[in-house]
Symmetry: C2
Subunit: 210 residues, 2 copies
Amino acid sequence: MTVTASVPRTPRAATLRKQEAILAEAERQFARFGFEGVSLDSIAAALELSRQNLLYHWPSKEELYRAVLDSVMDEWLANMNAITQAGEPRAAIQAYVADKLRFSRERPSGNAVFTREMMAGAPRYADVLKAQVMPLLHADVARFERWADEGRIRRLDFMHLMFLIWSSTQAYADLGAQFSLYMGKPALDDADFERARGLIVNLIWRSLAV
Amino acid sequence: MTVTASVPRTPRAATLRKQEAILAEAERQFARFGFEGVSLDSIAAALELSRQNLLYHWPSKEELYRAVLDSVMDEWLANMNAITQAGEPRAAIQAYVADKLRFSRERPSGNAVFTREMMAGAPRYADVLKAQVMPLLHADVARFERWADEGRIRRLDFMHLMFLIWSSTQAYADLGAQFSLYMGKPALDDADFERARGLIVNLIWRSLAV
DNA sequence: GTCTATACCTGGATAGAC
DNA sequence: GTCTATCCAGGTATAGAC
């Protein structure tokens, strides 16, 4: 009899850690090059794995891609309740913009994967976007409308306002590399995000305030 | 002797028209699926050409891709002088936002190809972006600074203001399909662009006006 | 200028040994 | 759970006939 049998060779924790590493690397690469621009080989190579090993953990490239999107969506949904939860318009704007920018700062790749998917017409994720994002958007717009009805904010085109908030904050994830290049620095820092936050919030609030 | 020899079989005009058709189709496909997501076959098929014929007109896929970017850049540079040319801040903002949105409306694919390239870190076009776009951006910021010095506008962070103008207008090209889907219509129409223009201009001017 | 044929490679995915 | 071997589709690009 050997002692090896009693020792668990591949603890579940290690496997989970590896799968998370794969997800993270996949997210990074999909963000830059899109679904078709990434090969399983390039993901595996970055982690010093073989492509075959990677396919052991996910049945296909597409499943891996959807797993990345699911993971981002989970975090996004957990963070993006700012407007509908807030009881007060100004606080809602401040919280929403700050949350969105923080998400852009902390998970730029995850954000960019989404943008790419949407630019392509969401061929692999339209169902989730329509089921999850669209209702949130309409709820936010409705909340603004109610505040306008109550005379607490001026009435703007709130749908397009949401598009502006969304695109101007998202850009700090998708185009952060370009922005920093144009400003002559290696990467965006906390101060840049703080300046962006201040500018966006002030711009919006100056137009909303009665 | 035959008469055919005296008749030019392939007039230059037809060739040019074909090359323009190729460029246009390539732009449309690169916009949606990115450089790697597009095959020469799919471009050729859409034009009812063979891939080989396509490669007769351009030496390689990469050359075709750069030709698309060059073509977009030419038009962009011709349109984007609004701020530096205007003598008056409010007119400058109005013209700039209107021009940028019009460009998003008239050439959404061209705009999207650029966004994709920048998201990837401009692996195939960084030289041109640095040489052409960056000086324009800094000139625009400098113009705002001068107007602020003269007390004609309030001082904001003009670099980030440019980022906001850029991203919020660009979104109507890159994400137009998503926006229209969220609004429950088949495509964005003139009224949508007009609403976007009004919102963005008003938002900015309310913060700039002294 | 356009076509057929072909070279050559990359990439996703499966089978099976260990 | 990881590796080697292999299959096969699709892709870029070139050669050469017409």
